[in-house]
Amino acid sequence: MAEPLLDLRELQTHFQTFGGLVKAVDGVSFNVKAGEIVGLVGESGGGKSVIGFSILGLVDPPGRIAGGEIRFDGRDISKLGEREMRNVRGRDIAMVFQDPMTSLNPVYTIGRQMDEVLRLHTNLDEAARRIRCIRMLEDVGISGAESRLDAYPHQFSGGMRQRVVIAIALLAGSRLIIADEPTTALDVTVQSQILKLMRRQVQETGAAMILITHDLAVVSEMADRVVVLYCGKVVERGLTEEVIRSPAHPYTRGLLDSIPRITDRQRRLRQIPGTVPDIRTLGAGCSFRGRCAHAQPLCAERSPELAPVRGSLDAACHFPLQETL
C-alpha cells in the first residue's frame, strides 16, 4: 500500500503556562490518504485546532512541538526550518479558519488577498493570476467574480467570506486542506452549502482534507474516516460508518447521543455529564473516567492504550462498548 499523504506519529504539542505544562496534544497518531476526508472530532479545548496549527508549524510560544513526527509526503515537516516551511504552507497544505469574519484582512481587497497566494507560490504573471482568481471565485459559487475581486471583505456576508477563504485555500492547488471548524460561525442554511462546496472541491481537485469540528453530524456527512480526540489524546478512530453505527469508546457514544436524529423522535437528547477536566491535573488513569458511566477501578489506575477493537475501529478504552446504535 502506498504511503499516506500525511502521517502523524505520536505528535506532542505542549504549552508552558504559569499554571504548569499543558499537553494540548499528547501522543496523537493518525494518517490521511490522498483524496480522503478525515474528521477530527472532540469538544472545545480538546486540542483539535492545535493539531492543525502543529501540522503547519504555526504553534506560537509558549507552545512548541515537543515530540513525534509529522510526515507529509514521506518527509517529516515538523523538523523543517521556517523558510522551507513557508513553501509548505499555502502550497502543499492550506488551511481554512473558523471565523470568516476575522480571517480576511479588512484593509485589502479580496483580489489582493487571493493574488498573494499565487504570487508566493507560482510563477504566473499578473494577468494569468487574475484569471485564475476569477475562475476560483466562480468555482466556489461567487457570481460576478471579476467585479468582486476589487471588493473588500466587509462588503461580503459571512457565508460569502467563507467561500472566499476556501477559494484562497484551494487556489495554489494544495494537496491537503485543513479546515478548522469551517462552518461553525455560519448560519445553519449556509453551513450545508459550504460543506457541499468543500466536499465537491476536494473531490474535483483530488486533495485530501482534515475536517476539524465538534459536530459529529457534520463529520458523518463529510468524512471517510473519523478521529475522536479527548484531552489531547486519540480515544477512537475508524471508518465513519463504523464509528457512527457502533462506537467503541463511551466518549464517542456520548457525543453521538447528543446529536438529534430524524429516525427516532421519541428519544431524549442526552448530554455528557461534567466538563472537560483541567489537562494539567489529570494524573494517571483514563482521562474520561470522571464523566464515564462505565468507569471501573482499573480506569483510575492505568491509562488505556489505543488498540484495535473490531473492524476498522481502534479505541483507547479498557472496556470498549459492544452494542450497535
Binding site: F53, L56, L58, P61, E82, R86, N87, V88, R89, G90, R91, A94, M95, F97, Q98, D99, T102, S103, L104, N105, P106, V107, Y108, T109, E116, V117, L120, H121, Y152, H154, V165, I168
Partner: protein, 321 residues
C-alpha cells in the same frame, strides 16, 4: 463624498467661529491694551482718543462684531510693537516653524514605527521591553530640559553644533527654507531632535499597542498559513491595520509639535512663530497673539480634516457619511 466634505467644511467654520469668540473674550479680560499703544506721558484726553480709535469704548458685543468683520475682511490688526500687520509677521516666520515641526515629525516617525512594529510583534523579547522602558522615559522627559542639555553637550562642552538661530536659507517657491543647506541642517538638528523625542515615544507606544492587537487576529494566522514571509506579514498585513490608531495620534501629535515648538524655539532662538508668540506674550502684543491663535486653530482644524480623509484611505470599512 462631496456632501461629507461640505459638512466637514461647515464644522470647521463653526469651530473657528467658537475659537474666535473664546480668543476675543480672553483677550478682553487681559488688561487694557490702550497702554500698549500710547506714550507713557499721554494725557487723559489722549487716552480717551486712543480708546475710541481702537474701538474700546464700545460694548463687548459690538467690539466682537468689529473684531470678527475685520478678521473676515482679512484685516488681522497691526502689531503694537512692530507696527506691521500681525499676519505678515506671522507668515514671515511660519516656514521656519513648519520646517522644524516637519523635520521633527519625520525623525519621530522614521524611528518610532519600525521600533513599535518590532516591540509589538515580539512583546516578550528583552529588546522589546527595553524599547518600551525607553519610550516611557521619552514621554517623561521635560522637552525644554532635553534641549538645554543638548546645547550644553553639543555647543558648550563640545562646540560641534550651533546652539541658536536658523542656518543659511535658500528661497524655494517663495519660501525661505534651511533644510537644503548643510549649515541649515547643523542648526535644525538639535531643535528637531528635542522636539521629536516625546512624539517619537508616543507614536512608538501606539504603534506597538496596535501591532499587539493586530497580531492576535485570525487574518494574521491566515496570512501565515498562506506561506507569507514574516516581514511581509508584519509590514503588509500587520502594520496597515495597526496604522489606523497611529493616524489619529499622528494628527494630534502634529498639533502638539506646533504647541511645543514655542518652547523649543525659545530655547534655540529659532526665528519661528512660537518664539514670536512667547515674545508677544511678554510684550502684551495682543494682535499678534490673536492672529497666532486663529492661525494655529485653522491649521489644527485642517489637520483633523486631513486625518479623517487619510482614515478612509487606510481603512476601507470607514465610509464617509
Amino acid at each position: 463624498m462631496l456632501g461629507y466634505t461640505i459638512k466637514r467644511l461647515l464644522q470647521m467654520v463653526l469651530v473657528l467661529f467658537v475659537v474666535s469668540i473664546i480668543v476675543f473674550l480672553m483677550m478682553s479680560f487681559t488688561g487694557d491694551p490702550v497702554f500698549m499703544v500710547i506714550p507713557i506721558d499721554s494725557t487723559q484726553a489722549e487716552i480717551e482718543q486712543a480708546r475710541r480709535l481702537l474701538g474700546l469704548d464700545q460694548s463687548l458685543f459690538s467690539q466682537y462684531w468689529i473684531f470678527l468683520s475685520n478678521l473676515l475682511q482679512g484685516d488681522f490688526g497691526r502689531s503694537y510693537v512692530f507696527r506691521q500687520p500681525a499676519m505678515d509677521l506671522i507668515l514671515e516666520r511660519l516656514p521656519a516653524t513648519i520646517e522644524m515641526v516637519l523635520v521633527a515629525m519625520a525623525f519621530a516617525t522614521v524611528i518610532a514605527i519600525p521600533l513599535g512594529v518590532y516591540a509589538g510583534a515580539n512583546p516578550n523579547r528583552t529588546a522589546s521591553r527595553g524599547i518600551m522602558a525607553g519610550s516611557l522615559f521619552g514621554i517623561s522627559l521635560p522637552g525644554f530640559w532635553v534641549g538645554m542639555m543638548l546645547i550644553y553637550f553639543f555647543s558648550v562642552r563640545h562646540p560641534l553644533l550651533p546652539s541658536s538661530g536658523r542656518g543659511e536659507t535658500i528661497e524655494i517657491l517663495g519660501l525661505r527654507l534651511s533644510i537644503f543647506t548643510a549649515d541649515g541642517w547643523s542648526h535644525i538638528l538639535l531643535p528637531a531632535v528635542t522636539l521629536a523625542l516625546a512624539t517619537l515615544a508616543i507614536i512608538l507606544r501606539i504603534t506597538r499597542a496596535g501591532m499587539m492587537e493586530v497580531m492576535r487576529q485570525d487574518y494574521i494566522r491566515f496570512a501565515r498559513a498562506k506561506g507569507a514571509s514574516r516581514t511581509h506579514i508584519l509590514f503588509a498585513h500587520g502594520l496597515k491595520n495597526a496604522l489606523i490608531p497611529v493616524v489619529t495620534i499622528f494628527g494630534l501629535q502634529l498639533g502638539d509639535l506646533i504647541a511645543f515648538a514655542t518652547i523649543t524655539e525659545t530655547i534655540f532662538a529659532w526665528p519661528g512663530t512660537g518664539k514670536l508668540l512667547i515674545d508677544s506674550i511678554y510684550r502684551g502684543d495682543r494682535p499678534v497673539i490673536v492672529v497666532y491663535l486663529m492661525l494655529t486653530a485653522f491649521i489644527f482644524v485642517v489637520i483633523n480634516f486631513l486625518v479623517d480623509i487619510v482614515y478612509t484611505v487606510i481603512d476601507p470599512r470607514i465610509t464617509v457619511k
